[in-house]
Symmetry: D2
Subunit: 99 residues, 4 copies
C-alpha cells in the first residue's frame, strides 16, 4: 500500500531551535530513498507504507539518540485505492483549478 | 520503543457518516490488545511502537476493504526516553495542577 | 457557526514537562464557558467558532506569558451544516456500532 | 501576535476529489493578502493571528457554501516571542544544516 504523509517531528527538552533534528530526519528519509519535499511546517513524503513508517521510526530513534528526551510528532497520512496519485499530482490538481 | 498516539481516521468518498469505520478501527485496536481510549475527535492508543503501527496499517486496509476509496488520517505521536509514562499519567499530571 | 475542535498545545523551550501549561489552558477554556474534555493527547472543545478561537488565542498568549518562547499547537477542527452534533453524540455514534 | 500555520481542509460528503475546495481556500487566503505556500498535504500560511484565523473561518464558510455538509480540518500552528521568524527562515534553517 502506497502512502503520502506529512511529517512534523517536534523534539521537546532541547530548547527552541529544532532545525538540526529536522535535518537529521531529512537525511534518514533520503537514505530510505523516499520522495520528499520539505516545507515550512513539515515534510511531505511519498512511498510504500512499510518503507515510510520504518523511516519515521528511525527518525524518532535518531532524534532521541541526539539527546531529545521527548518527541511530539504530527503525521497526516493519506492512502487511496481508487487510483494512483503522486504528491505532484495533488499540487497540480489544485493549481489547475486556480488558473 | 513505547508510543502514545492519538489516531483519527477520516474516510473520504463514503458520505458524511464515518462512525462505522471508526468502530471497525476500534475493534482492530482491541484485537491487537492495545490500551485505547476513544474520545470525540480520535482515539488515544498506548503500546509498543511496532504493535501500534501494525494496527494503524490494519485500520487503513480494513477501512478501504469496507469501501472507502480514500482515507485522510491524522496521528499525534509521542515517545520519550527519560521515563515511562502512561496515558493515565498524562491526564493525572494535568489534573493535579488544576486542583 | 459551531465547531468541535481537538486542541494540543506544545510549549517549546521549557523542558520536557508541559502539564502546567496544559492546566493553564484548561482554566482558560473553563473561564470561556466552553464544553471541554481533557484526554491523554489534547482537549476536545465544543462551542461557537469565535468563542473557541478567542480562547485558543488566549491560551497562546498565556503560555507565552508563563515563559514559553515558542509554541507548536495542533488543532483538529470539525464543522458541519447538515445537522447539529455534540461531542457526546460523536462518541455515542461509534459506541452504538461497537455493541 | 504573528502566526505560521499549516492548514489542511478536508471536506466530507462530496466524494473523493477535494481539489476545487482547496483551490477556493487558496483564493480566500490570497484575497486576505496572506503569504502562503501550497504543498502536497496542506498550505503554509504566515501572517497576523487575527487575519489568519479570519481567513480560516472564511474557508470553512465557503467550503460549506460550495456544498460540503461536513469539514474536518487540521491546523498546525506556531507562534514565538523570542524572535521574528518567517516561513522562509524555517526552511533555510534546516537546509543550512543539510549542506
Amino acid at each position: 500500500m502506497k502512502a503520502i504523509i506529512d511529517l512534523c517531528v517536534v523534539p521537546l527538552g532541547v530548547g527552541v531551535s529544532v532545525s538540526e533534528y529536522v535535518a537529521a530526519c531529512e537525511r534518514i528519509l533520503k537514505e530510505a530513498s523516499l520522495k520528499t519535499q520539505l516545507h515550512a511546517y513539515g515534510t511531505n513524503i511519498e512511498g510504500d507504507w512499510d518503507t515510510v513508517f520504518a523511516a519515521v521510526k528511525r527518525c524518532h530513534e535518531t532524534v532521541h539518540a541526539m539527546g531529545a528526551p521527548r518527541i511530539s510528532t504530527v503525521i497526516k497520512l493519506g492512502t487511496r485505492v481508487d487510483r494512483d496519485q503522486t504528491m505532484d499530482d495533488k499540487i497540480r490538481s489544485v493549481e489547475t483549478k486556480l488558473r
